[in-house]
């Protein structure tokens, strides 16, 4: 009798656990989006919110999360907490390749826009001069992590010759000031802030590491895309309008950037110089992300091309652009 | 010779300025080499008296004078055997006996040798490396006595040391105690509520009144040793003392 009860108990426990894990609350009215904290690459999202581009499309958009870095945002996708998100293409690739989240990329948000920053009084002139030192990235498999490793490979050095640490961008500048790290690589406006705050100087902007590299993208949960394609399309259209607005009205976007980053104008102006806002995504570039992530053993992808075809779905974007 | 002069002890009471008298102006004299028992009803203050002699507590008034010198606080002239043995549970028999010798700084080889002598004398061979929890009550008390005696105090104070033992063990230990004591010149002051035990062991019996304790009577015991519990004089004395105690209630 005691045995039967314990068996029933175990089964009950497992079923409860399973149900709890499976269920995730999806709000059927609003679109839940997420973006990265103080990431000026995602200005289009902020512009769309401030200028009402979403509401003009008839969408009710809820900011369901602001994240410290890409991997955190992808975890939220995995938990079913987001419908769409602005995130680095590298963490998105890793999450999808590792079958953690099911998202597709609908458009690019920006290209370039990161920089490797070192301590202001560091004598280093090249990456090679930083051998043996600590460098911080916002997380493994982020675009910045990717760029750093690419730069290391380009300089014909190895990762083992550096001490790569993970620190979230808001804490990077303090770590640089305290000399805990010799340098960091992060998205704007953090490099700009380090410069204007007189704590660091830019060693290489990301466009020198890899010109025109895609950075942040607008991604959508596949379930959301499948069940509410019209709303997804409207989201993409709002994104396109916002991106055009940024390029056409460079002065008007500044207060929006100031509001969402909480930083000063000098920093923002310097940051904006390093970022390109464009919504057309280069598939070949994404193939390179897949290739290198596989090479560094962060993901295992058999057929890179097939993966990219599934992962990057620019159909809605192209439809919008044709009109 | 041990002299108590006007020994008084009062504890502070619950209310302000309130005092609870425990010992009231005790004065008496004990000769060296004697076995003295102190009997009295429970809670009369016998233990307090012993603790004051041992230096664990101080008197409110009065003095304790040993061989012409007043003593206060803990001294090496007094040894105390506790009712609950108070053996250190983390020490073996051998280590327990050596505790005091360690504290006075005796060298390791010497103190171990001394301890082993006592182990022999006290019939504890084979139990040197045993821990207290592995020993019977009677053995534990023997270790406790050895531990105190090895320090060679002038006066051995014993606080109802055999109270928690069964009859047979108690009788054995009483005889054992006499054997051990006979070869030494110390004075023993033995507190007990067991009148039979007092008559069996002592040269002198002090009977205390209930709290606050005063000396009710002093009985010299001249009976030859070894004492015979069936002896008429033994029992007369016992009855007298019991009567005094009974009348006190």
């Amino acid at each position: 009798m005691k045995k039967k009860i314990s068996i029933l108990g175990i089964v009950f426990l497992l079923i409860t656990l399973g149900v709890a894990i499976r269920s995730s609350a999806a709000d059927l009215k609003s679109v839940r989006i997420g973006y990265l904290q103080n990431d000026i690459h995602q200005l289009a999202c902020w512009v769309a919110l401030e200028k009402g581009f979403y509401t003009q499309e008839g969408l009710e958009v809820k900011v369901a999360g602001i994240f410290k870095a890409g991997p955190e945002l992808m975890s939220a996708f995995a938990a079913g907490a987001l419908d769409m998100g602005y995130v680095g293409i590298a963490p998105a690739t890793a999450a999808v390749a590792n079958k953690a989240a099911r998202v597709v990329v609908l458009a690019q948000a920006n290209s370039e826009g990161s920089a490797l920053v070192i301590r202001k009084d560091s004598p280093a002139q090249t990456l090679g001069d930083l051998k043996g030192k600590s460098l911080a990235v916002p997380g493994h498999s982020t675009v910045q992590d990717f760029l750093l490793r690419k730069a290391i490979a380009k300089a014909q050095l190895t990762d083992q010759q550096f001490s790569i640490m993970v620190i979230k961008p808001p804490e990077m500048i303090a770590a640089l000031r305290n000399k805990d790290i010799e340098g960091f690589i992060a998205w704007e406006p953090f490099p700009a802030k380090a410069a204007t705050g007189d704590v660091g100087r830019v060693l290489s902007p990301s466009r020198e590491i890899w010109p025109d590299h895609p950075c942040c993208v607008l991604a959508a949960d596949t379930q959301f895309l499948g069940s509410r394609p019209e709303e997804a399309k409207k989201m993409v259209r709002a994104h396109v309008r916002a991106t055009d607005f940024i390029n056409q009205h460079p002065k008007e976007i500044i207060p929006i950037a100031l509001k969402y980053t909480g930083m000063d104008e000098k920093t923002i102006l310097q940051a904006l110089k390093n970022v390109k806002y464009a919504y057309a995504l280069n598939r070949e570039a994404e193939k390179e992300y897949v290739h290198f992530l596989s090479q560094w053993k962060f993901i295992k992808v058999e057929d890179g091309s097939a993966f990219v075809t599934r992962f990057v779905n620019l159909q809605l974007l192209n439809e919008i652009l044709k009109k | 010779m041990l002299e108590l002069v006007g020994l008084t002890k009062k504890y502070p009471g619950k209310g302000p300025g309130e005092e609870i008298p425990v010992l009231d102006n005790l004065s008496c004299r004990f000769e060296t080499g004697r076995f003295i028992s102190i009997v009295g009803s429970s809670g009369c203050g016998k233990t307090t008296l012993l603790r004051i002699l041992a230096g664990l507590e101080s008197s409110s008034q009065g003095q304790v004078i040993l061989n012409g010198r007043p003593i206060s606080g803990v001294t090496d002239q007094m040894g105390l055997v506790f009712q609950e043995y108070a053996l250190f549970p983390w020490r073996t028999t051998l280590a327990n006996i050596q505790m005091g010798l360690e504290c006075v700084g005796l060298e390791r080889v010497q103190r171990e040798r001394l301890a082993r002598e006592y182990i022999q004398a006290f019939g504890l061979q084979g139990f040197e490396d045993h821990y207290p929890r592995e020993l019977s009550g009677g053995m534990q008390q023997r270790v406790a006595i050895a531990r105190t005696l090895v320090m060679n105090p002038r006066v051995i104070l014993m606080d109802e040391p055999f109270a928690s033992l069964d009859n047979q063990t108690r009788n054995d230990l009483q005889e054992f105690l006499l054997t051990v004591w006979r070869t030494r010149v110390d004075m023993v002051i033995f507190v007990t509520h067991n009148v039979d035990e007092a008559v069996f062991l002592s040269d002198q019996i002090l009977v205390l009144t209930p709290r606050p304790a005063r000396i009710a009577s002093v009985f010299p015991v001249d009976l030859p040793r070894p004492r015979d519990r069936t002896d008429q004089e033994f029992n007369t004395l016992r009855r007298n003392i019991l009567k005094i105690l009974k009348d006190q209630r």
Partner: protein, 251 residues
């Protein structure tokens, strides 16, 4: 008897594996037992980040916990003995301790980084805080629980204060101290993962490994890492208990 200990977990694992295989539990949320084993294999063979094998992560984490824990014990035991012995000292120090104690070690992370920078010192500090209080409190209680008669017996045997400390308080409190050590080590090991989130300079550490697994969204490696942490924690506790049994033979 051993049948009772093996069958229920085995049964549990089988049901779990079945539910996962049926996709009833989605694999990216909770990997199946087999996937976890696969993840464990990869952690050992390939390492995460790749090139950083599991055993090195383990060594570094043990080192950090060891440092924090050793420091906590070295400070807490003497302090606890003295607090247990001197009532006045206890009255003075207690309020301060009682205010600090409820603060979770993890809340100290920002301060730790400010004081010690990023690296083993801040991680060891967090672990120190986690282990310190259980050891301290159990040491104090160990002293307070010593039968006062034993202390009096020592005094009648001519023990000075130094003798009482070394020959009575210390051995008398050891059983309680061991309880504190076990609890302290348990908490220290638990705070390890979060403490390593403050940043790991050397590129090794179980917390760092799990964080990386989270970054690249490998749930199987996350759970495998958690499993290792649990197993090692259990092993450490077991070792402490063995040492305790050797030292405290008198119980």
């Amino acid at each position: 008897m051993t049948r009772d200990r093996i069958l229920p977990p085995l049964f549990f694992l089988l049901i779990w594996q079945a539910l996962s295989a049926l996709e009833w539990i989605p694999s990216y949320k909770l990997p199946s037992p087999l996937q976890i084993v696969g993840g464990l294999k990869e952690l050992i063979v390939v390492g995460l980040p790749p090139g950083h094998p599991l055993h090195l992560h383990l060594l570094f984490s043990l080192y950090r916990v060891g440092m924090g824990f050793a420091l906590a014990a070295l400070v807490a035991v003497p302090l606890g003995l003295s607090l247990g012995w001197w009532r006045r000292w206890r009255r003075i120090v207690s309020p301060l301790l009682e205010v600090i104690r409820p603060i979770p070690p993890l809340a100290w992370i920002p301060i730790a980084i400010l004081w010690f920078g990023i690296g083993i010192q801040s991680a060891a500090f967090i672990i120190f805080l986690g282990a310190f209080f259980p050891i301290l409190l159990n040491t104090v209680s160990g002293v307070l629980s010593i039968n006062p008669t034993l202390i009096e017996a020592a005094r009648t045997l001519q023990a000075k204060e130094r003798d009482i400390f070394l020959k009575v308080l210390w051995p008398g409190a050891i059983p309680s101290i061991f309880v504190g050590l076990r609890i302290g080590m348990g908490i220290g090991w638990m705070t390890l993962v979060a403490a390593e989130f403050t940043g790991v300079r050397e590129g090794y550490g179980l917390g760092y490994m799990i964080m990386t697994a989270r970054d690249i969204q490998r749930a199987d490696e996350i759970v495998a890492g958690m499993l290792i942490i649990g197993l090692i924690g259990m092993l450490i506790d077991w070792v402490i208990r063995i040492i305790e049994r050797r030292i405290v033979r008198w119980r």
